[in-house]
Symmetry: D3
Subunit: 208 residues, 6 copies
Amino acid sequence: MRRLDQIAATATFVDGRVSNPHNTTKDNLQIDHTTDIYKESTQLLLQALLRNEEVRNFAFIQRVAPPLMCRYQPKMKYGKHPDVAFLPMQPTPMRSDLSCTIFIADPSTYEGGELTIHLGSKPVSIKGKRGAAVFYPSTTIHEVLPVTSGERLVAITFIESQICDEKKRDLLYTLNEVAALEGLNMEWDNRVRLEHVRHSLHRMWSTS
Amino acid sequence: MRRLDQIAATATFVDGRVSNPHNTTKDNLQIDHTTDIYKESTQLLLQALLRNEEVRNFAFIQRVAPPLMCRYQPKMKYGKHPDVAFLPMQPTPMRSDLSCTIFIADPSTYEGGELTIHLGSKPVSIKGKRGAAVFYPSTTIHEVLPVTSGERLVAITFIESQICDEKKRDLLYTLNEVAALEGLNMEWDNRVRLEHVRHSLHRMWSTS
Amino acid sequence: MRRLDQIAATATFVDGRVSNPHNTTKDNLQIDHTTDIYKESTQLLLQALLRNEEVRNFAFIQRVAPPLMCRYQPKMKYGKHPDVAFLPMQPTPMRSDLSCTIFIADPSTYEGGELTIHLGSKPVSIKGKRGAAVFYPSTTIHEVLPVTSGERLVAITFIESQICDEKKRDLLYTLNEVAALEGLNMEWDNRVRLEHVRHSLHRMWSTS
Amino acid sequence: MRRLDQIAATATFVDGRVSNPHNTTKDNLQIDHTTDIYKESTQLLLQALLRNEEVRNFAFIQRVAPPLMCRYQPKMKYGKHPDVAFLPMQPTPMRSDLSCTIFIADPSTYEGGELTIHLGSKPVSIKGKRGAAVFYPSTTIHEVLPVTSGERLVAITFIESQICDEKKRDLLYTLNEVAALEGLNMEWDNRVRLEHVRHSLHRMWSTS
Amino acid sequence: MRRLDQIAATATFVDGRVSNPHNTTKDNLQIDHTTDIYKESTQLLLQALLRNEEVRNFAFIQRVAPPLMCRYQPKMKYGKHPDVAFLPMQPTPMRSDLSCTIFIADPSTYEGGELTIHLGSKPVSIKGKRGAAVFYPSTTIHEVLPVTSGERLVAITFIESQICDEKKRDLLYTLNEVAALEGLNMEWDNRVRLEHVRHSLHRMWSTS
Amino acid sequence: MRRLDQIAATATFVDGRVSNPHNTTKDNLQIDHTTDIYKESTQLLLQALLRNEEVRNFAFIQRVAPPLMCRYQPKMKYGKHPDVAFLPMQPTPMRSDLSCTIFIADPSTYEGGELTIHLGSKPVSIKGKRGAAVFYPSTTIHEVLPVTSGERLVAITFIESQICDEKKRDLLYTLNEVAALEGLNMEWDNRVRLEHVRHSLHRMWSTS
């Protein structure tokens, strides 16, 4: 995290509208992706993300976009929007199933700037701890409320999952958790049959 | 079973080709479905089928066609064929997911007449005990080999399942079995989460 | 057909807007469905429809709505619209996969009134012969152009197919036709394997 | 509602475990379904439910189970559980996509008894107003917390939707709402094209 | 286009049967793909294709095969055939969802050689202008009628779409068009909800 | 094969648990994948696999994992297990649809060591000839029985198919075989229509 603070302090940040010119409600800054320090930041953030076993367990990661550092200064915000379904990427466009915000600045250092997700009838507002990561289906409507003081520093990234559908992903995650918690108490044959179901669902759901 | 023997002894049987005129390899007899005794036989057979918990557990029954008594006398047979996917029935056609043969005559009373199922690379031949029932996906290729002596008496029926796809049906059946065998040893919360997965799959798979 | 002409001549016709009040472009008449003569007309039309083998072969009929006689007098028309996906019906709503227009009046007796279907880039205009029937996926955009002289008399109905998706329905219809035309020349085993594929697709596609 | 109060006051209530004997955490009372007054209650509740346009708009109702009045006296509760995917019903089992609780007793007349739904990471607790109805996917884990004083009177029912998958149902509901709110401002052609998309999704999603 | 004319004039063309040896009705020439000038031609054609916004909007491009210049001299033709579903390509085989013909020679310079597509009941014949491109689902039956005079010069290529199913691709394209034409007149919230539906469909349909 | 014998004789083999540390029933040896001789062995085995037309015809190969030589000395075995659905691989994880065992040691040179597949109700035991390959859906439960004398030398590999679902893969394989055996006797038009169906299924089933 410290190295990320240093990077944030020294790197060039540009107008965030470059990556979504059609959204007039977007008003933030993002690290200049043409610089070497940008590459270092994506490496650091990516490694941190993939080290986390919980993340690997529920996301069923197929591809990850390079995380991008974003800075919201007072009055900056990002109005309601879903993220797009496909990101231009080499060698082929990448489907974005999960969007992720990694909180870098300590929440006590800025006011406002809540990540607000409009899932179901009630919006959920989140202001994560330093180092925390929040995930939501990319096409969910969400927004970043205006920062009123201090500076919100986060990184955002996108994940293509082996399982596109979030309902199926949740069911398999739940089944895997039950197996992890109860598997050692089961008769070997039942445990293997449960493994058969889990792996079969994993395979089957990667294309439907 | 005894009542079925009596019915077989007294009921009229007609040429089986009436129910599949296009298949020139079909050569057997079936109970005349215009008689009252036919209705009695279907009731008896249906009740026997639905009493069986194992059947209910793996078939996820939505609809059942009236079972039909069939008789194969020496030299009779039914050549290789799959069953059709939809049966004319009131008020709407019924999809046939599972075909079922209920063996009525004791296998020691006739020779030949094996039910032979062509699944995968090797055919499987079955000559069930009196009262046994065999199920297979309706569209599988199968045949009844020629009877060489005695008389093969069976009933056949067809099941529309809540889960059309046999792979999905098998996975849910396996998961239900593991839950039945191991559920009481689990923490309540894990058991409920497993129930959530099972019921969600059941619902989801009824239309895909 | 003659009896239908008599019915058309004697039955009461009411404003067609009763069955689609939201569409302000609808301007036609339909037979009063509260009368006995309405019931007779639906029976006649339904029997004619189901007698047609070609219809049964490509529609894979699960349910049929009672056909409704409609009359377009000069200046009447029905503007661009898709039909709804579900019709209120007993005991449960019926999905409408195919819409059908049965032409009753001879096309030489009226001008205008073409059924125009907007499929792909070019609209197709149809004015069927007396007794002809035209089918199209219900949710396709279509319209009836204004009648300029004479009277357009048709019946319309809706079919729920065992196979919801028109692409899959077409593929199975094509495969069934190839089997009908070439099956007798094939080795028996290949013919049975082709039957296995056809019936398996029929079953599989009834729920996906 | 008054008539329901009267029914609640005079009808016989029996142990709720009859309808889910496997769940040892269920402890409530339900109206005796062998009585005439039970039939009257289901009629009243069903009509109230179907009168509600909002309900019809988001549930895409195919079938509804007869609503069942339930009473929770002090200390009664219903522990965590999902509802089953299929209910035994005539003429065929009914899939339960949505579970519904209709609140009859005024929430000020009893303490405890919250309906608590475990969706995502945080449970949501609901104590509806007299006459309110709450819906949730049937296979979601939920519970009724113990009543601590007074009496919780509700009715529960189950809906088979034309669209099994809740994600798809939500998307179509959203699209229909946008069309209802913005359709009149659109060019006619765009409005019809939007209708084409909506009806096509409705049809397509009834089987996948 | 001029550079393509020069390439056509100087490059070596070989028998087209090399890329589909099983189709005895194929009789045309194609640019020798072992030459450097071949590479230049694919670059030029690919850039032209991807510059076209209309193409990007309806094709939802995931991968594109290198376009191949083909020449039909008098009497040459390509009989009825569908294109294959998968093309050998590095690093993995590529699914071909859309086939594309780019017309290079001016249609006034040759007779015959119509691209004829057998979609539905009536074949559609196309002779595109210089620079025009025509797209159709790859597995549609199509043919090139015999050239009777002059020389037909075209390029063909194949696209793997993010959305395999053409019906789904069409629905999303229509919805995107309606949004583009009407979005600016909508209330912001409705516009964002429509975006949510569009992006959700895009994501969902990339695997089903 | 001889070169593989030489490699087996000279290469280093390490404990097989490295590639599945969670399975305590695994007890075998595998070639050290950090050596150059390992790379040579994978090349030889891969080429042999891809040369086989039968394999290409039923597997619809999208990706293949590098084959891995495994050795079972007396008492070694691999208990019941399914293979995982996704293998870590560059540049993205690879789905494993088919598992493959290539038998290298002649079956007369060792006792025990049968590959036993638990498909349906009866396990199938296989001891392939030198050079034979056996395929099964990866998530099927299978095991290698203990070797009692001699040494079992095999290679294992994994295939990602263009068609994930084995039922669909089987249907297309059957249809392709019927077309190969009967196609030349068909009228050209029927043959092309059959091709249209086959290629359309191939394309459609790559994502559902």
